[in-house]
């Protein structure tokens, strides 16, 4: 059967098994490749999207659980409350290296700032701990979140 999804404000009808992870629908079926595959087990956060404003690992989220939800991906980050500020801060501090994890980092950071406008180091650690960066950009991520929230 087809499943209805709302992604970045657009309705989509997806003909796939209900247990298909959202990540593959976004990337392979809809061709929106900004959301990344890293681990498939919710261990690295590269696939982070927002589901009703909550940072969610799309690699373990089946599409049959999402019919009533608003999904936001990195392609629409700019439309979120702190999205533009975060992108600007990321550019200002040249945060990314390989950049592969950064879509997920930014989506997690946007969810953090929508919950806590002025996060402490502890808030940042807590919100960003699930997002792995193998290039080791953590100190710039921390600084950029603070810059965006300033």
């Amino acid at each position: 059967m087809a499943f209805k999804l709302q992604i970045n404000g657009q309705p989509h009808s997806i003909d796939a098994d209900g247990d298909t992870p959202l990540l593959w629908v976004i990337r392979d079926v809809l061709g929106m490749t900004g959301t990344k595959f890293g681990c498939g087990q919710a261990l690295c956060g590269a696939c982070t999207v927002h589901v009703d404003g909550v940072a969610t690992r799309s690699c373990v989220t089946p599409i049959d659980s999402l019919s009533e939800s608003q999904i936001t991906t990195i392609e629409a980050l700019e439309t979120l409350a702190h999205g533009k500020a975060l992108q600007d801060a990321w550019i200002e501090l040249d945060v990314p290296q390989c950049g592969y994890c950064q879509s997920g980092q930014l989506m997690s950071a946007a969810a953090l700032l929508s919950d806590i406008e002025q996060p402490t180091d502890e808030d940042i650690d807590s919100a960003m701990s699930g997002n792995v960066c193998r290039c080791g950009t953590y100190q710039r991520i921390r600084a950029a979140i603070k810059l965006a929230s300033a």
Binding site: A16, D17, D19, T20, P21, L23, W24, V25, R27, D28, V29, G31, M32, T33, G34, T35, K36, F37, G38, C39, G40, Q41, L43, C44, A46, T73, I74, E75, L77, E78, L86, Q87, W90, I91, D94, P96, Q97, C98, G99, Y100, Q102, S103, L106, I124, D125, S126, M128, S129, G130, N131, V132, C133, R134, C135, G136, T137, Y138, Q139, R140, I141
Partner: protein, 719 residues
């Protein structure tokens, strides 16, 4: 800003078509290229720069961007001499062509070993200066003035009258018709004239990495692409024994099951279906001869074979006699584990095999090997193979190997239309080319004054060069295997260094971030710390004494020690450790602060680096590489170990092959020494230094010497 990373060009034919479509343009090349070739809108050898009639400057990047900032740095080299704004250039990936884009130091078309700036410092500046010279000559010809009286200014040639100017785009047709001046006649800027080099220019690839628009290899999707999930034999040399194809094909969206010599792939409309199909296929494997291999076998082999002599890399003085006469002698065994790379972008490759050729979409550090591997699998002539390289989502040496490409091409041989083969994270971790396990025996002796009088180091482990370039082996010595060991920066009157090749059964080994020094700097800098402790000397003072004749090493050591506050008293359970190295042409000193908890948990709280990498291209990139490199090494020091049981890798994902996370990340400070020396490499330097800096700090905190990595908290528990 208008900077763009262009999609890679498809092939030579399209390249020509595209160039022609732009209505002419200037192609600058290095070396002696016939003028006729350049005057036409044709591809010319060694083309790094294209300028079209609109003035659009395209820079073709010979080295791949994998996070190290090379697209920005190499563009800066060209833009400095060409005199164009970095914000107005367009970056393009180089196509496969060793003749045009081969690495001046490594020969092949590859990116690795922290060599990109060292190798291309002069060629790319020469490319820029040659183009600028031709544009000035073109303007001088049009104005009928002496070229020496013209100057350039950010994309314009300025007339001696100071008012008239021509945009580069207006000059390309005349410039293209002029003879290329010989490279030796091209005057490069003096460092004092640099306006771009040495500045922290913003990276050119950041915006696309903040809005999801930048395409990695895994994002490539030529029309009609199917997705394949792959399972490779869990034991090296094994093969599929049984596959439940009907069960896989019954999964919605699954199109095909492909069986190769050592893998099974399920091809589907999307990855979700492909993975589900792969699971349904319930593959059973024939393990082959490596099925009983275990970690204990590997260690036993290393322990035994490291007892006999290897090839001699360096031998000066009478080490045996000096060890006999030493006031204090230390004999130690250091062990370093197999390491996976775990780049964030899992291995992947998209392949389309048509009637006459093969096209690939992939991010690779090694275009030469990629093409060779594809030709070998397909039997196609190399000229019928097109490779679209991409920005890489983390390399760390893993993508110098072409096994992922070969596996994908084998699958594609059986698939009609393009297929994207994606490895799961588990496949990525369990089918690596691992950093070798090293088992080093090292002995040293000090005299009554504490000075080292003997140093004997035998490296034992797998040889990467013996596999990929046997000709580089000399007298049984792998030059990479002893890099960082054969020539420590210290004054050592008697030194003997050997390499003993020991190849583990059923394990593939290769490069890792930091290559040879990633292991040797740990051993050397730990052992010099052992000698300092035996001499009851402060680790920094001891090193300074031995570096008196090595001013650049001494300078970075003194700077790092000063910035770190070396010598301050620290509370119980905390310690400060130091490491100094010359590796990749760069001098680096690092001081790490650690705290060790009662339960042995190690936390690194601060890292200070002082780096002398000669002339700098982009200081902020250097800082970024110091930060990222240190965290990459720290992750391995704390957690990294690939182990084997029944021929299989025991680790599988980020829950048992742990990455460092944000709450564990120390702040890394970078201090750059101003230098007029030739540029050194920076991509791997702090990765190699962090292992000993941290373990030496643990010794300072606990009195316990870490000789086996990864760091084991059990051994650091308070008594």
């Amino acid at each position: 800003m208008s900077t763009k990373i262009a999609a890679p060009r498809l092939n030579r034919r399209n390249f020509l078509k595209a160039s022609a479509a732009l209505g002419g343009g200037l192609i600058v090349s290095l070396g002696s290229v016939p003028t006729a070739t350049l005057a036409a809108t044709e591809f010319a050898p060694n083309a790094f720069i294209r300028i079209d009639r609109r003035g659009l400057v395209t820079l073709v990047m010979p080295q791949v961007e994998m996070g190290q900032g090379i697209y920005t740095a190499q563009a800066m080299l060209i833009a400095e001499e060409l005199d164009v704004s970095l914000e107005e250039v367009r970056i393009e990936h180089a196509p496969v062509n060793e003749a045009l884009y081969g690495h001046p130091m490594l020969g092949r078309q590859m990116t690795g070993g922290s060599t990109s700036i060292r190798a291309f410092w002069t060629p790319l500046r020469t490319a820029g200066a040659t183009a600028r010279t031709l544009l000035m000559q073109a303007a001088a010809k049009e104005w009928n003035v002496d070229v020496a009286s013209c100057r350039t200014e950010q994309g314009f040639v300025v007339n001696p009258d100071g008012r008239t100017r021509r945009a580069y785009g207006e000059l390309v047709d005349i410039a293209a018709s002029l003879p290329i001046p010989p490279a030796e006649s091209i005057a490069l800027k003096q460092p004092s004239e640099f306006t771009l080099l040495g500045t922290s220019a913003k990276r050119l690839d950041t915006r696309g990495k903040t809005n999801g628009s930048l395409k990695y290899g895994i994002d490539a999707s030529p029309p009609g692409t199917k997705i394949a999930a792959i399972a490779i034999s869990p034991v090296l040399g094994g093969k599929p024994k049984s596959v439940n194809e009907p069960a896989a094909l019954a999964i919605k969206g699954v199109r095909q099951v492909v069986i190769t010599d050592d893998s099974v792939a399920v091809v589907a409309d999307h990855t979700g279906a492909a993975k589900k199909g792969l699971e349904a296929a319930a593959i059973e494997w024939e393990d082959g001869p490596n099925g009983s291999m275990s970690q204990a076998d590997i260690l036993q082999q290393l322990e035994e074979q490291s007892q006999s002599a290897g090839g001699v890399a360096r031998s000066e003085g009478d080490v045996s006699a000096a060890l006999q006469s030493a006031a204090i002698r230390i004999d130690a065994v250091y062990q370093l584990p197999f390491l996976s790379h775990t780049a964030m972008e899992p291995m992947n490759c998209t392949v389309h095999i048509g009637e006459n050729g093969c096209e690939l979409w992939v991010g690779t550090q090694n275009l030469s090997s990629a093409k060779q591997a594809t030709a070998t699998v397909t039997g196609l002539p190399p000229e019928n193979i097109i490779i679209n390289n991409h920005i890489v989502g983390g390399g760390f040496g893993r993508r110098l190997e072409a096994d992922g490409i070969a596996h994908a091409v084998k699958v594609a041989m059986q698939v009609k239309g393009p297929v994207k083969v994606i490895w799961s994270r588990e496949e990525d971790i369990q089918h690596g080319y691992y950093r070798p396990y090293y088992y080093d025996r090292i002995s040293g002796g000090i005299d009554t004054d504490g000075n080292p009088i003997a140093w004997s180091h035998r490296v034992a482990g797998s040889s990467i060069f013996a596999r990929i370039a046997p000709a580089a082996m000399q007298n049984g010595v792998d030059p990479d295997g002893v890099e960082g060991a054969a020539h420590p920066p210290y004054k050592l009157p008697a030194i003997h260094v050997e390499f003993k090749q020991v190849e583990p059964q059923g394990v593939l080994t290769s490069w890792w971030r930091g290559v040879g020094p990633s292991h040797n700097i740990f051993v050397v800098e730990s052992f010099i710390d052992e000698l300092a402790a035996a001499a009851k000397s402060d680790p920094v003072e001891y090193r300074k004494r031995l570096l008196a004749e090595n001013p650049r090493a001494l300078a970075v050591l003194e700077l790092a020690a000063e910035k770190a506050g070396w010598g301050e008293a620290l509370p119980q359970g905390r310690g400060r450790g130091v490491a100094v190295q010359l590796a990749f042409g760069t001098y680096l000193a690092m001081v790490a602060d650690v705290s060790v908890a009662e339960d042995g948990t190690v936390r690194v709280t601060r890292i200070v680096t002082a780096v002398d990498c000669g002339m700098t291209v982009n200081p902020d990139t250097i800082a970024a590489q110091m930060e990222g490199g240190a965290l990459y090494g720290l992750t391995a020091a704390l957690y990294g170990a690939i182990t084997f049981k029944d021929g299989r890798v025991e680790q599988s994902n980020f829950d048992n092959y742990l990455p460092l996370r944000i709450e564990e990340a120390p702040h890394v400070e970078t201090h750059i020494v101003r230098s007029a020396e030739a540029p050194g490499g920076i991509g791997e330097a702090s990765t190699t230094a962090v292992f000993p800096a941290v373990t030496n700090a643990i010794f300072a905190a606990t009195g316990k010497r870490v000789r086996t990595l990864p760091i084991n908290p059990e051994e650091l528990k308070a008594q």
